[in-house]
Protein backbone atom coordinates (compact mmCIF):
# COMPACT_ATOMS: atom_id res chain seq x y z
CA UNK A 1 0.00 0.00 0.00
CA UNK A 2 2.83 2.37 0.80
CA UNK A 3 4.47 1.27 -2.42
CA UNK A 4 1.29 2.28 -4.26
CA UNK A 5 1.65 5.90 -3.12
CA UNK A 6 5.15 6.22 -4.55
CA UNK A 7 4.16 4.38 -7.72
CA UNK A 8 1.22 6.75 -8.33
CA UNK A 9 3.40 9.76 -7.49
CA UNK A 10 6.01 8.68 -10.05
CA UNK A 11 3.29 8.25 -12.69
CA UNK A 12 1.85 11.68 -11.89
CA UNK A 13 5.16 13.53 -12.06
CA UNK A 14 6.25 11.76 -15.27
CA UNK A 15 2.96 12.38 -17.07
CA UNK A 16 2.91 16.01 -15.88
CA UNK A 17 6.33 16.47 -17.47
CA UNK A 18 5.07 14.84 -20.66
CA UNK A 19 2.10 17.25 -20.69
CA UNK A 20 4.49 20.18 -20.79
CA UNK A 21 7.03 18.76 -23.22
CA UNK A 22 5.03 16.76 -25.76
CA UNK A 23 4.69 18.33 -29.20
CA UNK A 24 1.16 17.27 -30.07
CA UNK A 25 -1.72 18.80 -28.02
CA UNK A 26 -3.72 15.54 -28.19
CA UNK A 27 -0.81 13.69 -26.55
CA UNK A 28 -0.78 16.33 -23.82
CA UNK A 29 -4.48 15.79 -23.13
CA UNK A 30 -4.05 12.02 -22.94
CA UNK A 31 -1.11 12.36 -20.56
CA UNK A 32 -3.10 14.77 -18.39
CA UNK A 33 -5.94 12.23 -18.25
CA UNK A 34 -3.49 9.56 -17.05
CA UNK A 35 -2.19 12.03 -14.45
CA UNK A 36 -5.73 12.74 -13.23
CA UNK A 37 -6.60 9.05 -12.98
CA UNK A 38 -3.48 8.51 -10.88
CA UNK A 39 -4.60 11.43 -8.76
CA UNK A 40 -7.98 9.74 -8.24
CA UNK A 41 -5.97 6.77 -6.98
CA UNK A 42 -4.25 9.07 -4.51
CA UNK A 43 -7.64 10.24 -3.26
CA UNK A 44 -8.68 6.63 -2.74
CA UNK A 45 -5.45 6.04 -0.79
CA UNK A 46 -6.40 9.00 1.40
CA UNK A 47 -9.76 7.27 1.90
CA UNK A 48 -11.69 10.22 0.46
CA UNK A 49 -13.93 8.27 -1.86
CA UNK A 50 -16.31 11.12 -2.59
CA UNK A 51 -13.49 13.25 -3.94
CA UNK A 52 -12.12 10.35 -5.99
CA UNK A 53 -15.46 9.77 -7.70
CA UNK A 54 -16.10 13.48 -8.26
CA UNK A 55 -12.58 13.90 -9.60
CA UNK A 56 -13.00 11.12 -12.14
CA UNK A 57 -16.44 12.37 -13.20
CA UNK A 58 -15.69 16.08 -13.35
CA UNK A 59 -12.09 16.18 -14.52
CA UNK A 60 -11.48 13.04 -16.51
CA UNK A 61 -15.05 12.72 -17.71
CA UNK A 62 -16.06 16.29 -18.44
CA UNK A 63 -13.21 18.77 -18.50
CA UNK A 64 -10.69 16.70 -20.41
CA UNK A 65 -13.33 15.60 -22.93
CA UNK A 66 -14.13 19.30 -23.36
CA UNK A 67 -10.46 19.95 -24.08
CA UNK A 68 -10.39 17.13 -26.62
CA UNK A 69 -13.54 18.45 -28.29
CA UNK A 70 -12.09 21.94 -28.58
CA UNK A 71 -8.90 20.52 -30.10
CA UNK A 72 -11.00 18.52 -32.55
CA UNK A 73 -13.31 21.42 -33.47
CA UNK A 74 -10.50 23.93 -33.94
CA UNK A 75 -8.35 21.37 -35.77
CA UNK A 76 -5.33 21.93 -33.55
CA UNK A 77 -4.08 18.37 -33.63
CA UNK A 78 -1.06 19.02 -35.77
CA UNK A 79 2.39 19.18 -34.35
CA UNK A 80 3.26 22.78 -33.72
CA UNK A 81 6.89 23.68 -34.18
CA UNK A 82 6.22 27.16 -32.92
CA UNK A 83 8.12 27.62 -29.67
CA UNK A 84 9.24 30.41 -27.48
CA UNK A 85 12.79 31.66 -27.78
CA UNK A 86 15.52 29.63 -26.15
CA UNK A 87 16.20 32.23 -23.46
CA UNK A 88 12.52 32.26 -22.46
CA UNK A 89 12.38 28.46 -22.31
CA UNK A 90 15.50 28.17 -20.19
CA UNK A 91 14.28 30.91 -17.86
CA UNK A 92 10.91 29.13 -17.57
CA UNK A 93 12.66 25.94 -16.42
CA UNK A 94 14.86 27.91 -14.03
CA UNK A 95 11.81 29.71 -12.61
CA UNK A 96 10.03 26.43 -12.00
CA UNK A 97 13.12 24.96 -10.34
CA UNK A 98 13.65 28.00 -8.13
CA UNK A 99 9.98 27.98 -7.12
CA UNK A 100 10.30 24.30 -6.21
CA UNK A 101 13.42 24.96 -4.12
CA UNK A 102 11.84 27.91 -2.30
CA UNK A 103 8.68 25.98 -1.49
CA UNK A 104 10.61 22.94 -0.25
CA UNK A 105 12.84 25.13 1.89
CA UNK A 106 9.85 27.01 3.28
CA UNK A 107 7.86 23.90 4.17
CA UNK A 108 10.85 22.07 5.62
CA UNK A 109 11.01 24.43 8.61
CA UNK A 110 7.36 24.14 9.48
CA UNK A 111 7.07 20.37 9.39
CA UNK A 112 7.88 19.62 12.98
CA UNK A 113 5.15 21.91 14.27
CA UNK A 114 2.25 19.76 13.09
CA UNK A 115 0.98 17.45 15.76
CA UNK A 116 -0.44 14.14 14.66
CA UNK A 117 -4.19 13.87 15.04
CA UNK A 118 -6.05 10.68 15.60
CA UNK A 119 -6.82 9.25 12.21
CA UNK A 120 -10.49 9.00 11.38
CA UNK A 121 -11.15 6.83 8.35
CA UNK A 122 -14.74 8.02 7.99
CA UNK A 123 -14.26 11.66 7.04
CA UNK A 124 -13.93 11.11 3.30
CA UNK A 125 -17.06 9.06 2.92
CA UNK A 126 -20.03 10.48 1.07
CA UNK A 127 -22.25 10.69 4.15
CA UNK A 128 -19.72 12.68 6.21
CA UNK A 129 -18.88 15.07 3.38
CA UNK A 130 -22.57 15.53 2.63
CA UNK A 131 -23.33 16.33 6.25
CA UNK A 132 -20.59 18.95 6.38
CA UNK A 133 -21.55 20.36 3.00
CA UNK A 134 -25.22 20.81 3.82
CA UNK A 135 -24.83 21.93 7.42
CA UNK A 136 -21.85 24.26 7.60
CA UNK A 137 -21.41 25.20 3.96
CA UNK A 138 -25.00 25.43 2.75
CA UNK A 139 -24.90 29.11 1.80
CA UNK A 140 -21.62 28.89 -0.22
CA UNK A 141 -23.01 25.82 -1.93
CA UNK A 142 -26.12 27.70 -3.01
CA UNK A 143 -24.11 30.74 -4.07
CA UNK A 144 -21.91 28.58 -6.27
CA UNK A 145 -24.95 28.03 -8.48
CA UNK A 146 -24.86 31.77 -9.23
CA UNK A 147 -21.21 31.35 -10.20
CA UNK A 148 -22.14 28.52 -12.51
CA UNK A 149 -24.93 30.40 -14.24
CA UNK A 150 -22.70 33.44 -14.74
CA UNK A 151 -19.98 31.22 -16.20
CA UNK A 152 -22.53 29.59 -18.49
CA UNK A 153 -23.89 32.94 -19.69
CA UNK A 154 -20.35 34.19 -20.20
CA UNK A 155 -19.41 31.14 -22.26
CA UNK A 156 -22.51 31.55 -24.43
CA UNK A 157 -21.78 35.25 -24.90
CA UNK A 158 -18.20 34.53 -25.93
CA UNK A 159 -19.35 31.81 -28.29
CA UNK A 160 -21.74 34.05 -30.22
CA UNK A 161 -20.51 35.26 -33.57
CA UNK A 162 -21.42 38.93 -33.34
CA UNK A 163 -21.16 40.42 -29.87
Amino acid sequence: MVFLFYFLSAIMILTALFVVFSKNPVDSVIYLIICFIAMAGQYILLNSQFLAVVHVIVYTGAIMVLFLFVIMLLNLNKEIILQKSKVTRISAVVTGGIFFLVMVAATRLTLEIHPRYAFDSKIGLVSEVGKTLFHEFLLPFEISSVLFISAMIGAVMFGKKDV
Binding site: I13, M39, N47, F67, K84, T95, Y117, S150, F158
Partner: protein, 109 residues
Protein backbone atom coordinates in the same frame (compact mmCIF):
# COMPACT_ATOMS: atom_id res chain seq x y z
CA UNK B 1 -10.72 -0.52 3.76
CA UNK B 2 -8.93 -1.08 7.03
CA UNK B 3 -5.81 -1.93 5.10
CA UNK B 4 -5.89 1.34 3.17
CA UNK B 5 -6.49 3.61 6.12
CA UNK B 6 -3.71 2.01 8.12
CA UNK B 7 -1.35 2.44 5.19
CA UNK B 8 -1.86 6.21 5.02
CA UNK B 9 -0.43 6.65 8.45
CA UNK B 10 2.82 5.13 7.27
CA UNK B 11 3.26 7.82 4.63
CA UNK B 12 4.45 11.08 6.19
CA UNK B 13 2.65 14.29 5.29
CA UNK B 14 5.96 15.71 4.05
CA UNK B 15 5.83 13.39 1.07
CA UNK B 16 2.45 14.73 0.07
CA UNK B 17 3.81 18.27 0.33
CA UNK B 18 6.80 17.34 -1.81
CA UNK B 19 4.59 15.68 -4.46
CA UNK B 20 2.20 18.62 -4.64
CA UNK B 21 4.98 21.21 -4.77
CA UNK B 22 6.61 19.25 -7.59
CA UNK B 23 3.38 19.12 -9.56
CA UNK B 24 2.73 22.81 -8.95
CA UNK B 25 6.19 23.80 -10.18
CA UNK B 26 5.79 21.63 -13.27
CA UNK B 27 2.50 23.44 -13.99
CA UNK B 28 4.12 26.85 -13.41
CA UNK B 29 6.99 25.90 -15.70
CA UNK B 30 4.52 24.77 -18.36
CA UNK B 31 2.64 28.07 -18.25
CA UNK B 32 5.87 29.95 -18.87
CA UNK B 33 7.28 27.40 -21.30
CA UNK B 34 4.62 26.91 -23.97
CA UNK B 35 3.01 29.23 -26.51
CA UNK B 36 -0.06 27.10 -27.17
CA UNK B 37 -2.97 28.49 -25.19
CA UNK B 38 -4.67 25.12 -24.71
CA UNK B 39 -1.52 23.66 -23.09
CA UNK B 40 -1.37 26.69 -20.81
CA UNK B 41 -4.97 26.05 -19.72
CA UNK B 42 -4.07 22.42 -19.04
CA UNK B 43 -1.09 23.45 -16.93
CA UNK B 44 -3.40 25.71 -14.90
CA UNK B 45 -5.62 22.66 -14.34
CA UNK B 46 -2.55 20.75 -13.17
CA UNK B 47 -1.76 23.46 -10.61
CA UNK B 48 -5.39 23.47 -9.40
CA UNK B 49 -5.26 19.73 -8.90
CA UNK B 50 -1.97 19.68 -7.03
CA UNK B 51 -3.41 22.15 -4.54
CA UNK B 52 -6.59 20.07 -4.30
CA UNK B 53 -4.62 16.96 -3.46
CA UNK B 54 -2.66 18.82 -0.79
CA UNK B 55 -5.82 20.17 0.84
CA UNK B 56 -7.35 16.69 0.80
CA UNK B 57 -4.19 15.23 2.35
CA UNK B 58 -4.17 17.83 5.13
CA UNK B 59 -7.86 17.21 5.74
CA UNK B 60 -7.30 13.47 6.01
CA UNK B 61 -4.35 13.87 8.36
CA UNK B 62 -6.18 16.34 10.60
CA UNK B 63 -9.48 14.39 10.53
CA UNK B 64 -11.44 17.43 9.44
CA UNK B 65 -14.14 16.98 6.78
CA UNK B 66 -14.22 20.73 5.98
CA UNK B 67 -11.11 20.26 3.86
CA UNK B 68 -12.90 17.81 1.62
CA UNK B 69 -15.72 20.32 1.11
CA UNK B 70 -13.18 22.99 0.21
CA UNK B 71 -11.70 20.70 -2.43
CA UNK B 72 -15.21 20.27 -3.79
CA UNK B 73 -15.65 24.06 -4.03
CA UNK B 74 -12.31 24.43 -5.78
CA UNK B 75 -13.49 21.84 -8.30
CA UNK B 76 -16.66 23.90 -8.88
CA UNK B 77 -14.63 27.03 -9.54
CA UNK B 78 -12.24 25.10 -11.81
CA UNK B 79 -15.13 23.77 -13.89
CA UNK B 80 -16.53 27.29 -14.36
CA UNK B 81 -13.06 28.57 -15.21
CA UNK B 82 -12.52 25.91 -17.86
CA UNK B 83 -15.85 26.70 -19.52
CA UNK B 84 -15.02 30.41 -19.78
CA UNK B 85 -11.37 29.80 -20.72
CA UNK B 86 -12.19 27.43 -23.54
CA UNK B 87 -14.80 29.79 -24.94
CA UNK B 88 -12.21 32.58 -24.87
CA UNK B 89 -9.91 30.20 -26.76
CA UNK B 90 -12.59 29.54 -29.38
CA UNK B 91 -13.16 33.28 -29.77
CA UNK B 92 -9.43 33.86 -30.12
CA UNK B 93 -9.16 31.19 -32.81
CA UNK B 94 -12.05 32.80 -34.68
CA UNK B 95 -10.68 36.35 -34.48
CA UNK B 96 -6.94 35.94 -35.02
CA UNK B 97 -6.98 32.39 -36.47
CA UNK B 98 -4.32 31.11 -34.11
CA UNK B 99 -3.91 29.84 -30.57
CA UNK B 100 -0.52 31.47 -30.10
CA UNK B 101 -0.48 33.30 -26.77
CA UNK B 102 2.14 35.77 -28.07
CA UNK B 103 -0.41 37.33 -30.43
CA UNK B 104 -2.47 38.57 -27.47
CA UNK B 105 0.02 41.12 -26.20
CA UNK B 106 -1.93 44.38 -26.46
CA UNK B 107 -2.65 44.46 -22.73
CA UNK B 108 0.90 43.48 -21.82
CA UNK B 109 2.39 46.97 -21.66
Amino acid sequence: MKDISSAIQLIPLEHYILLCVTLFSIGLMGVLFRRNTIIILMCIELMFNSINLLVAAFSAYHSDPSGQVFVFFVMIVAAAEVAVGLSILVMMKRNVDSVDINLLNRLKW
